[in-house]
């Protein structure tokens, strides 16, 4: 038996884990950005210049904390939920092309794989919220279920329009098909995808599942230490992967223009621009109410996504793209 392919996939998987963990520096970046948006400096004390080591200090603190399990919690659900939250966040990176050949496994069902894997997050919200046996957690879990359900539909529909243009479900083929970035051909589809993706990420203005002014911390109220850090890390991993998917589906992924930079650099530039935009949105807009959230999803995004599919069909029919 030839062990090389197996070893190679293990190395690639480890590289992905390293990449995801390296994104923990985004926690510091976000705190600095939030500071700037609010006319203050953000973390300054740990590490020079500009408190760059703050995240590491926080991580050591979280690691050394006691692993508290509430007495009335349903123990297994409570303990497993952070892992169930982190796993899909990692799995998504499997199909994202960082460069023409820099992809762990270019599945020919890439787009469906992404939506299938991300749908697991409902389970983790439910497990943590219900397992904590705390009324705020349960409310957070229910809100998360309603929200993810409503925004999954426009998200998948706007991805379908991209697949229609590219004629393939593989992300690498989608990148190769974009001699014109798809955002030019379907701006509506991109807007729908962006809003739905931010909602799926559970970030402000759509962070109703952990709305701290109403629900303490929602589904992760009872978590502390490393288990809480897993929720936090998976939020950042998901933010980066959502940005990477946006860059891949609508902005030509690793394709460059004008400057002759390596494809990986192009991909990372595009991805982190979206990460910044998502942070920008978070620190600018106030949180929506639950009724506004559901109305936006079902009454605006869903029709717009369907319109976008019709428009894409028209494009294909008239211009033979």
């Amino acid at each position: 038996m030839d062990w090389w392919p197996l070893l190679w996939s293990i190395i690639k998987a480890l590289l992905i884990v390293v990449f995801v963990l390296a994104n923990a520096f985004l926690i510091w970046v976000e705190r600095k950005i939030a500071g700037r948006f609010q006319r203050r400096l953000g973390p300054m004390r740990v590490g020079r210049p500009h408190g760059w080591a703050q995240t590491f200090a926080d991580l050591i603190k979280l690691l050394s904390k006691e692993d508290v399990v509430p007495g009335t919690a349903e123990k297994w659900l409570f303990l497993l939920a952070p892992i169930v939250a982190f796993l899909p966040a990692l799995l998504v990176y499997m199909v994202i092309p960082f460069g023409p050949t820099w992809v762990v496994n270019d599945l020919n069902i890439g787009v469906i794989f992404i939506s299938a894997v991300t749908s697991f997050s409902v389970l983790s919200f439910f497990m943590s919220g219900w397992g904590s046996n705390n009324k705020y957690s349960v409310m957070g879990a229910f809100r998360a279920a309603a929200q993810l359900m409503s925004y999954e539909v426009p998200l998948v529909l706007s991805m379908i329009a991209v697949v229609m243009l590219a004629g393939s479900l593989s992300l690498n083929d989608i990148v190769k098909a974009q001699s014109i970035p798809f955002v030019v051909l379907q701006p509506l589809g991109f807007l729908t995808f962006f809003i739905a993706a931010v909602a799926e990420l559970n970030r402000t203005p759509f962070d109703l599942a952990e709305a701290e002014s109403e629900l303490v911390a929602g589904y992760n109220t009872e978590y502390s230490g490393m288990r809480w850090a897993f929720f936090f890390l998976s939020e950042y991993a998901n933010t980066v992967s959502a940005s990477a998917i946006m860059a891949t589906l609508f902005f030509g992924g690793w394709r460059g223009f004008l400057l002759p930079l390596p494809p990986v650099v192009w991909f990372l530039i595009k991805t982190y621009i979206f990460v910044f935009i998502i942070m920008w949105v978070r620190w600018t807009l106030p949180r929506v109410r639950i009724d506004q959230l559901l109305n936006l999803g079902w009454k605006l995004l869903l029709p717009v996504a369907l319109l976008n599919i019709a428009w894409t069909g028209l494009l294909g029919l008239v211009f033979k793209i």
């Binding site: 349903e74 020919n108 299938a116 409902v122 389970l123 279920a145 993810l148």
Partner: protein, 177 residues
Amino acid sequence: MNLQLLAFMILSLVTLGAAFKVITARFITHAALYLALSFVGVAGLFLLLNADFLAAVQLLVYVGAITTMLIFAVMLSQVEEIRQGAAEEGFWRRILSARFGVIPLAVAAALAGVILYLYRFANWKAVPVAPDPNTTRSIGQAMFTTYLIPFEVASLVLLVAMIGAIVLTMKKEDRSR
């Protein structure tokens, strides 16, 4: 033992074990989560059969949507009632009771007998079909050519069910407005 057989055995053990726990779990929420685990196992079995599209759809529809529907059902119930769970009963007691145990057991045994009989004596095609490199394309083509009418009928039925659900949950005072 080859790797595929090992994977098959693990996956089918997970699927069957989870399915068993779905019925015997004391809390409906645990049953829902075991159901999700069982679906994941089935998706793994699809992958072993080279049906990657089916596996992804299995995850998307069953784990993503059906389990969420169960969470909605929990959401619409009294939380305290669900937290109490079903009355605690011993395993054998439940198996031997007429209402929970004997009749379902007999039905399940009969079904298993039929399946085993079919497996042993039915006339199966001896040659397995070669794995399709692009199952998505073939499924799409089959759906929009050979099976177009059943496909459309199914979507119409779903649409009717959806509209029906909306009409049923509409409040009276909304209509009088």
